[in-house]
């Protein structure tokens, strides 16, 4: 067993899921909306990369980021804003994001076919370098560093800028924040833009190791990240990020270390652990001990 490589891969996968978790958690914080169609942003970015494979990498990545931000804003403007205006129930909002996810997958299927497209933009990062006899792929290093940098940048944006202050105020209490002059559409728009940037980053990094892009590729990513977010704790970004990281890390470790024979019941074990965590700590594993409990009457 190659422990060094397994750990490096697991950390980089954890960083990716951490990014997804922050993207989901950011929008949840402001809108109280779990965007199940988040994975479709990642898929969209991956398709852009697949169709710009011949372009210089920076240009392709720029296109990818622009397209994903546009789609994220379109999701907000077309689907979620009307719902918010009508004061729809959380269940209806959640199912609406399901519907958007389903619709986008159907559009991808119609437009790009079911066979899948190949991304070759940063394929060179799959080569490995060696430290102390341990082979580490460049992409593992790049993912980890990019993930950490983006998380820090998001944290700085939220904590060091005025608009970030507005976002945090809105996440704390949306109505009061609006009364005090925080502009709802700008704050929500910003959180979708940041979520879009994070999704685009995931598209770029994820497709290096998994270059095949298919209409449904975003679904398992969303599910895993969502599990991580809820297990980690939705109320704070860092606990959501940590939850996402933990899920990615565990998944990466087991994926590398267990043979396929041994790992058939692994999903059951993971889901069982999730249920256990939720029963013991419904507010999340990394939520502060005295945190306000989730609605429990």
């Amino acid at each position: 067993v190659n422990w060094g490589q397994a750990i490096a891969d697991a950390i980089s996968l954890g960083a990716l899921y951490g990014l997804v978790a922050v993207g989901i958690g950011l929008v949840f914080g402001v809108m109280r909306l779990i965007n199940f169609a988040y994975g479709e942003l990642i898929t969209a970015g991956a398709y852009v990369l697949a169709y710009t494979s011949g372009w210089p990498a920076p240009l392709a990545i720029l296109m990818c980021v622009a397209a994903v931000i546009a789609l994220a804003l379109a999701q907000e403007r077309i689907a979620f804003r009307p719902l918010r205006r009508q004061g729809a129930s959380p269940a209806a909002m959640l199912v609406a994001t399901f519907a958007v996810s389903f619709l986008l997958q159907a559009i991808y299927l119609l437009a790009f076919g079911s066979r899948g497209q190949i991304v070759g933009t940063l394929g060179g990062l799959n080569t490995a370098f060696t430290i102390d006899g341990v082979d580490i792929r460049w992409i593992a290093l790049v993912s980890t560093v990019t993930g950490a940098a983006l998380l820090l940048a998001t944290g700085a944006l939220l904590n060091r800028t005025t608009i970030g202050l507005h976002v945090r105020a809105a996440a704390q209490d949306f109505r009061t924040a609006r009364i005090l002059g925080v502009r709802a559409n700008r704050v929500i728009g910003l959180s979708f833009v940041v979520a879009g940037v994070l999704a685009a980053a995931v598209s770029v990094l994820y497709t290096v190791s998994n270059p095949l892009v298919q209409p449904q590729m975003g679904v398992p990513i969303t599910i895993f990240a969502l599990v991580g977010v809820v297990v980690g704790g939705l109320d704070r970004l860092w606990s959501a990020a940590l939850g996402g990281f933990a899920v990615g890390f565990v998944y990466g470790m087991f994926g590398d270390l267990l043979s396929s024979q041994q790992s058939v019941y692994l999903p059951s074990v993971v889901y069982g652990a999730v249920i256990l965590v939720l029963l013991v700590r419904p507010a999340g594993l990394f939520a502060p001990l005295r945190a306000r409990q989730v609605e429990r009457v």
Partner: protein
């Protein structure tokens, strides 16, 4: 009294009409109509918990799956089973029962499973409840996919006796009746009180946990029954039938019709099924005054767009959460 006749009569009548029409159309369309009946049963079963409690469940397809697998495995001829599924538990491998008893067992299994799952999980609400029920679905799917003692694993289970449209319609009507009876009972009212205002319901002496557990168990039993109907409709099953797609489609049907009423659940299931079926035809050319041929894949896009639009423009669904009635209340 008149109100009860209307509220119960309208959905049951719609189910009966669907079954009636199913007999008057071609073989291929008959399958679509029968499928619509089964979807109605599943969505109404889902409504019993989600509609009355206001707590979303992503796990109900587990109960459908358990009912379907039990009803399927028990009605296949033991000699066939010895050949296709040698690893089965003894009692599953050697029993052979008729369709109706298999449906009753499917309902019992769904109910017991839901009770077992609900005992711990009904303490949760909101998103943790949603994710936890989803985790149950993940486990169920995983186990059905790999455990040879309970079924054919990833293989297709086939040679299951198929039921006629009237059996399916009767089963669906039973689900609707049970849902209505529960809704009008004091237990249904108590559960809806916890949905409207948990604090006030608690103050009035209602145990939220117990009422949710009761609703969840009944809902699971009905979902198990619906699963039994599903397997006798198709005649074959695989684990992939009982995972994300079915979960999404049934939830969307429920929200599309209106989460708050049986009428909404029935209407949502039937309308989406009808649109789906029509578009499937249109991909192979239909005559609607003119020849209409849609490119492959438009079906999914249109279904997705219709569902998204209705949910976005009218989050309370087609029926606005009201039961059938002449006057708008």
């Amino acid at each position: 009294m008149r109100r009860a006749v209307l509220e119960l009569g309208a959905p049951v009548l719609l189910v009966a009409v669907t079954a009636l029409v199913a007999g008057a159309v071609s073989q291929a369309h008959q399958l679509e109509f029968e499928n619509a009946l089964v979807m109605t049963a599943i969505v109404v079963a889902l409504y019993v918990f989600v509609g009355n409690s206001g707590v979303i469940s992503f796990g109900h397809v587990s109960f459908v799956a358990v009912g379907a697998y039990l009803a399927g495995v028990l009605t296949v001829d033991p000699q066939t089973k010895a050949f296709t599924m040698p690893g089965l538990f003894h009692v599953l491998g050697h029993s052979h029962i008729g369709t109706v008893p298999s449906l009753a067992l499917a309902a019992a299994a769904g109910g017991i499973y839901a009770l077992a799952v609900g005992l711990p999980l009904m303490r949760l609400s909101g998103l943790p409840a949603g994710i936890a029920t989803f985790a149950v679905l993940g486990i169920t799917y995983n186990v059905l996919y790999y455990w040879q003692k309970v079924g054919p694993t990833a293989q297709t289970l086939s040679d299951i006796p198929e039921s006629g449209r009237w059996t399916l319609a009767a089963g669906t009507a039973v689900v609707v009746l049970a849902a209505y009876a529960y809704q009008r009972s004091r237990f249904g009212r108590m559960l809806r009180a916890t949905r409207e205002d948990p604090a006030a319901a608690g103050a009035a002496g209602i145990s939220i946990y117990r009422q949710r557990l009761l609703g969840f168990t009944l809902s699971g039993a009905l979902a198990g029954l619906a699963g039994g109907l599903y397997v006798h409709e198709l005649g074959l099953i695989t684990p992939d039938l009982f995972y994300l797609d079915l979960t999404f489609v049934t939830l969307a049907m429920l929200v599309f019709g209106g989460v708050g009423s049986i009428w909404g659940a029935v209407l949502g299931a039937l309308v989406i099924s009808a649109v789906n079926s029509f578009l499937g035809d249109a991909e192979n050319t239909v005559h609607v005054g003119f020849r209409l041929t849609l490119p492959d894949g438009t079906r999914l896009v249109t279904i997705g767009a219709v569902m998204a639009l209705v949910i976005i423009l009218r989050p309370s669904g087609l029926t606005g959460g009201r039961e059938f009635g002449w006057r708008r209340r």
